[in-house]
C-alpha cells in the first residue's frame, strides 16, 4: 500500500510534538473525518526556525505531517507558503490514490500556522486552499 519512504516517515516521524509559546499555530482537518493536524512554528527573521506537529489520522496523514516539517524547516515564510500538499506527496515518492484526497493536509496546516503568525503581527493574508474532497465532504 505505502512505499518505503512513507513507511519510514510513519514509523520514524520527524519533529513530533508541540513547541512551547509558538509564534504560529495551525490546525486543519477534523477528528470526525478521521484526520486532524496541529502544527506549531517558531519564527525568527522571517524564517521557520523550528516546527513541530501532532496528528490524529492514518499512515498517510502522519507521514505527510512529518514530511512537511522537513520540507519547510529553514524556509522563509514566503517560500513555505509555496509548498503544496501535492509537493509533500511527491517528496514522499507518491501516495495511494485514495489517500491524496483525504489524508494530505499537511501543507495546509503549515499555511494556517503562518497565517496565524501574520495575524498576530496584525497582517491579514489570503491563503490559497487547494481543492480536495475533504473540504467538500463536510460533516
Amino acid at each position: 500500500m505505502y512505499n518505503e519512504k512513507v513507511m519510514d516517515h510513519f514509523f520514524n516521524p520527524r519533529n513530533v510534538g508541540e513547541l512551547e509559546n509558538p509564534d504560529g499555530v495551525g490546525q486543519v482537518g477534523n477528528p470526525v473525518c478521521g484526520d486532524m493536524m496541529r502544527i506549531t512554528l517558531r519564527i525568527k527573521d522571517n524564517r521557520i526556525e523550528d516546527i513541530k506537529f501532532r496528528t490524529f489520522g492514518c499512515g498517510a496523514a502522519i507521514a505527510t505531517s512529518s514530511m512537511v516539517t522537513e520540507l519547510v524547516k529553514g524556509l522563509t515564510l514566503e517560500e513555505a507558503l509555496e509548498v503544496s500538499n501535492k509537493q509533500v506527496a511527491e517528496s514522499l515518492g507518491g501516495l495511494p490514490p485514495q489517500k491524496l484526497h483525504c489524508s494530505n493536509l499537511a501543507a495546509e496546516a503549515v499555511h494556517a500556522a503562518i497565517q496565524d503568525y501574520y495575524k498576530k503581527q496584525g497582517i491579514d493574508i489570503e491563503i490559497k486552499t487547494e481543492e480536495h474532497e475533504h473540504q467538500e465532504h463536510g460533516h
Binding site: E4, V32, H137
Partner: protein, 396 residues
Amino acid sequence: MSSQPNAQRQVYLDHSATTPVRPEVLAAMLPYFAGKFGNASSVHRWGYAAREAINDAREKVASLIEASPNEIIFTSGGTEADNLAIRGIAHARKSKGNHLITSQIEHHAVLHTFEALQKEGFEVTFVPCDKYGLIDPDDVRRAIRKDTILVSIMHGQNEVGTVEPIKQIGEIAREHGVLFHTDAVQSAGKIPIDVKDMNVDLLTLSSHKIYGPKGVGALYVRRGVRLTPQVTGGAHERMRRAGTENVPGIIGFGEASRLAKAELPEEAERLSKLRDKLIEGLLREIPDVALNGHPVLRLPHNVNVSVKYLEGESILLNLDRMGVAASSGSACTSGSLEPSHVLLAMGLSHETAHGSLRFSLGMSNTEEDVDYVLEILPPIVGKLRAMSPLGPGSGL
C-alpha cells in the same frame, strides 16, 4: 507493504476476513483439479465421478445447518448467495408486494443489493439496532406491512460479532407469511445453526470463512420456496444457478463444513475463552478503550474495541510491523470517507468509529498469541497517542 524488521511472531487475527484452507480440505480438493476433472453434467465416468463428489459435498454442507441436500444451491460465494436470495425472492414475489425489510447493519452484499432494488422501485425499510448492535424483533414486527414480501436480517454481525435474535425474527416473519433470509457467513461453523428450528427460509454460507477455499458459497432455500435465478444459462443447481460447477471448490467447501460441524462445540468454547481473555486484557491494559458489540450475545471469535484518540489504520500498520494481522472500521480501511456504517448505526461518534479495531480469532490462535497482542499493543497505542492532538495531555 514494507518489511517487518521487528516481527518476532506471526499472529493472524483476521479470520473474519478470510481463513487459510485446512490441509485436510486441500487434500480433498486436489484430485479434482487434474485427475477427476470431469464436468458433473456429462454422461460418462468422468462426469459421474464429479457428480458423485458434488452430491457428497452437498450433504456435508446441508448437514452443517441441519438442512436437506436438495435445499442447497452452490454459488461463487457469500455475496452471490445474498444477491440470489434477495433479488431472487424480490423478483419472484413482485406480484405479491413491493416492500422489503432489512437492517442498517447488514454486510454490503445485502445492503447494496437492497439499495439496487430501491432503484428498481421496491420500498425498503432499514430497521435500526441498539448500542450493542442488537436488532429488536419488535422493530421487525412493526415494519411488516401487508405488501411485505421479504425480511433479511443477518445472523452473526461481521464487524462487532453481535448474534441477532434470528429465531424470533423468523417466527415473526412466518406469522405474517413473509419469507425470511439470513446471512450466516460469519456464524456458520462457529455457533450451531438449525434452519428448521430458527424459522429460516433462505440462508447464506461462505466457504472461505470456515477454512475452505475462496470462490465458493451456498444458499439454503427451504423446500417449496421459489426464486428467480440471477445467473441463467443452464440447468445446473436444479435450474436455480446456471454455470458449470466449481467442482474442487465445492468438494473443499463440503470437507470444511464437515470438519467445522464435528469440531464446533469444542472450538467454540476454546475461542470464547481466548476472546474473553483478549477483551479483558485490552480493557485492563489500555486506558480509554471501549468494547464494541454485545458483551454476551457475541460470536466466539470476535473482539472489537475502539481505541479513543487514534485512527485505526495507524494502529494496523504498527501491528502488522509486529507480525499481527487485524482490521478496522475506520474510513481509511472502509475504502470511503465514512467510517463503518455498523459502528455509526450503533451510535458511536465518527471519531470513536475511526479508532475501531477488530481481532477475529481462529484455529491457529493460542493463549500465547493473545498474550503477545496484549504485550505489544499498549506501547503502540502509547506512541501514537503521544503524537495525537486529541485526548488528555494534548492541551486541547
